[in-house]
């Protein structure tokens, strides 16, 4: 509570300190409002002290400069709103499910520069009749269709020799399921073309969309990426952590050096963000999840190693003493006195790390390290907002679920 005044008010400062000392015992409120004679001994209120004033001025300067440096323009939030609106809308309508359209189709061949094969005889099924069945590009062709569903919209397509389609026109069938349209034959390569009429007559049952399946597939990859990265971290961090624990290395010859080197390695590696490591590893092993596993793994080794080491350093030395006194070997001492004490903490730290890694593996794809980030970035770049929304929802739900699960497990273990 009490702020010792700075050098700006030396006289008040001395009085202030004198009053603070007895109140250090915990009776600050009582000492703060004494009547009469004690008034002159009141500590200077914090907002009137020189130190608080200069602190405020400094803080103001720092934040004003920071505002400029980081180019904060709040007006952009309004001006850019229209750009982001489709995405916000898409969040409410992610691309998760789809239904297959039931399509009636009729095909008629059209040859460029030769005779067309004879059209099939009408059978009551959807069929097309063309005013001419061969010619070249730029011909006017009247298309008449029959046998379609009544009063439905449809599309006429031009399909070239290698199956590429382009739309010609839209049409609507009459009450008898017929339609007529006039088209201009397009300029295409190849001679064998087809005119295709498609009428959507209904929709099949709901099913998961292609986007969802792709995103799900990448999410599975993401979760396993985190799992493999974490595992790699654990496998290497456990043995290294013993070398990074001061209380254990002090028994070794040259233990101080081992400790210092191990800790320095942990700290150096930890200071390189996993994203940077991922970029480096994509150069080494190529794009894909393996680079992500290596990046997360290396980062986890350092992070877990430090946490593990600290867990080892915080153990109760009593059991170590007791087991040593029985004539046990160094390995037995570790097995019976150290390991039982650190296992719960190790498990808790590992789950915590796995948690971080799952979250991190969602962005590691942005730099080519595999996982869901890779497709998310594509969707965003192509402005495919519903797809991007699907990926985002997937990330949010899976990460939250794993978060919850790990919290439950951690509670059980510790």
């Amino acid at each position: 509570m009490s702020v010792s005044p700075g050098s700006g008010a030396p006289a008040a400062g001395r009085r202030g300190r004198g009053a603070v000392a007895p109140s250090a015992g915990g009776s600050a409120p009582a000492a703060g409002r004494p009547a009469g004679g004690a008034r002159s001994a009141l500590p200077v209120p914090w907002y009137r002290s020189w130190r608080a004033f200069s602190g405020l001025v400094l803080a103001a300067a720092v934040y004003i400069y920071g505002w400029h440096v980081t180019q904060i323009h709040l007006s952009e939030l309004w001006r850019g709103a229209r750009l982001i609106r489709p995405f916000v809308v898409a969040l409410a309508t992610p691309d998760v499910v789809t239904r297959t359209a039931v399509v009636q189709q009729a095909v008629a061949p059209y040859e460029y520069g030769g005779a067309a094969p004879p059209a099939a005889a009408p059978t009551g099924a959807p069929a097309l009749r063309l005013s001419r069945t061969s010619g070249g590009s730029g011909d006017r062709v009247t298309v008449q269709g029959e046998g379609f569903g009544a009063n439905r919209g449809g599309t006429l397509w031009w399909e070239n020799q290698i199956g590429q389609r382009q739309p010609l026109t839209e049409f609507r069938t009459d009450a008898l399921g017929r339609f007529g349209a006039t088209i201009m034959t397009p300029d295409v390569q190849g001679t064998r073309n087809e005119i295709v009429a498609e009428v959507v007559t209904g929709y099949g049952p709901l099913r998961l969309s292609q986007t969802f399946l792709v995103v799900l597939d990448r999410m599975v990859e993401t979760v396993f990426l985190a799992l493999m990265g974490t595992t790699m971290g654990v496998v290497f961090a456990v043995p290294l952590s013993f070398l990074g624990a001061r209380n254990l290395t002090s028994h070794l010859p040259a233990g101080g050096a081992v400790y210092a080197v191990t800790r320095a390695l942990f700290n150096l590696t930890r200071s390189i963000e996993a994203l940077v490591l991922a970029i480096i590893f994509t150069v080494w092993v190529g794009l894909g999840p393996f680079a992500g596993v290596l990046a997360l793994g290396v980062h986890s080794i350092a992070s877990l190693g430090k946490l593990y080491s600290e867990a080892i350093e915080s153990i109760d030395t009593g059991p170590i003493e007791a087991i040593m006194a029985t004539g046990a070997s160094a390995l037995q001492v570790i097995r019976y006195a150290v390991v039982p004490q650190i296992v719960p903490q190790f498990i808790a730290f590992t789950i915590y790390r796995w948690d971080i890694n799952v979250r991190f593996s969602t962005v590691i794809g942005f730099v080519g390290g595999g996982g869901i980030g890779f497709v998310l970035q594509q969707y965003i770049n192509l402005l495919q907002w519903p797809q991007a929304a699907t990926a985002l929802w997937m990330i949010a739900l899976v990460v939250a679920a794993l978060d919850y699960a790990s919290a439950v497990v951690r509670e059980r273990v510790v």
């Binding site: 109760d316 009593g318 059991p319 003493e321 007791a322 087991i323 040593m324 006194a325 029985t326 004539g327 046990a328 070997s329 390995l331 037995q332 097995r335 019976y336 006195a337 039982p340 004490q341 296992v343 719960p344």
Partner: protein
Amino acid sequence: MRGSEPLLRIEHLTKIYDDGTRALTDVSFEVARGEFLVIIGLSGSGKSTLLRCINRLVEATSGRVVLDGRDVTAASRDELREIRRGIGMIFQQFNLVRRASVLTNVLAGRLGYVAPAWALANYFPAPVVAQAMRNLERVGISGKAFGRASALSGGQQQRVGIARALMQEPRVILADEPVASLDPALSHSILKYLEELNRNDGITVLCCLHFLSLARRYGTRILALKDGRIVFEGHPGDIDEARFHEIYGEQAEEVEIT
């Protein structure tokens, strides 16, 4: 072995810690077979350091410890392990592995004997397990063998500590303030076990105690330390008012534990 040879001989033991603290200064004494030697003194007088120098949990700066004719201070690592096997130790804070089962804690007392590879896999031969159960029975808590050590009360944990020491089949037990962390009312229940081991099993006991009344009741001989030096050595009855103040200081007043 010569019959006149004492079981334990301490010669000119001095311990100065790395930070310069002088814990023991030129301490010499002998302990005969079957004694119950109680070491008294204020906190910080060097009692714990003295006990730990005997099994080299603390390395003495100078001086010698001779146990049963063997120089402990000069022993190699392997010899030291073998010597430690024969010295049971009981601690003020019990020093059990709290998350491990009571039985595992007791079995750990046998680590100096069993094959190392098996022990690392937490496997102990059936006779050793049977021995552990017998020792737990002896201290009256065989019913808790499979529970966690942390679930036991302080008095029960110290009894596990005794059972663990017994697994070593020791000739000597070093007890470092074995009742200081317990409710004073439980002091006798623990010390009586030590007394019984001393009388019936012929185990020599070196025990640090705070309370003079307990020292008088259990000790066959008393050694008093003050500032790392021996200030009294003799029979419990010889500590009169003057001696008491010499050991504990002028301000001290004797507290009885019954």
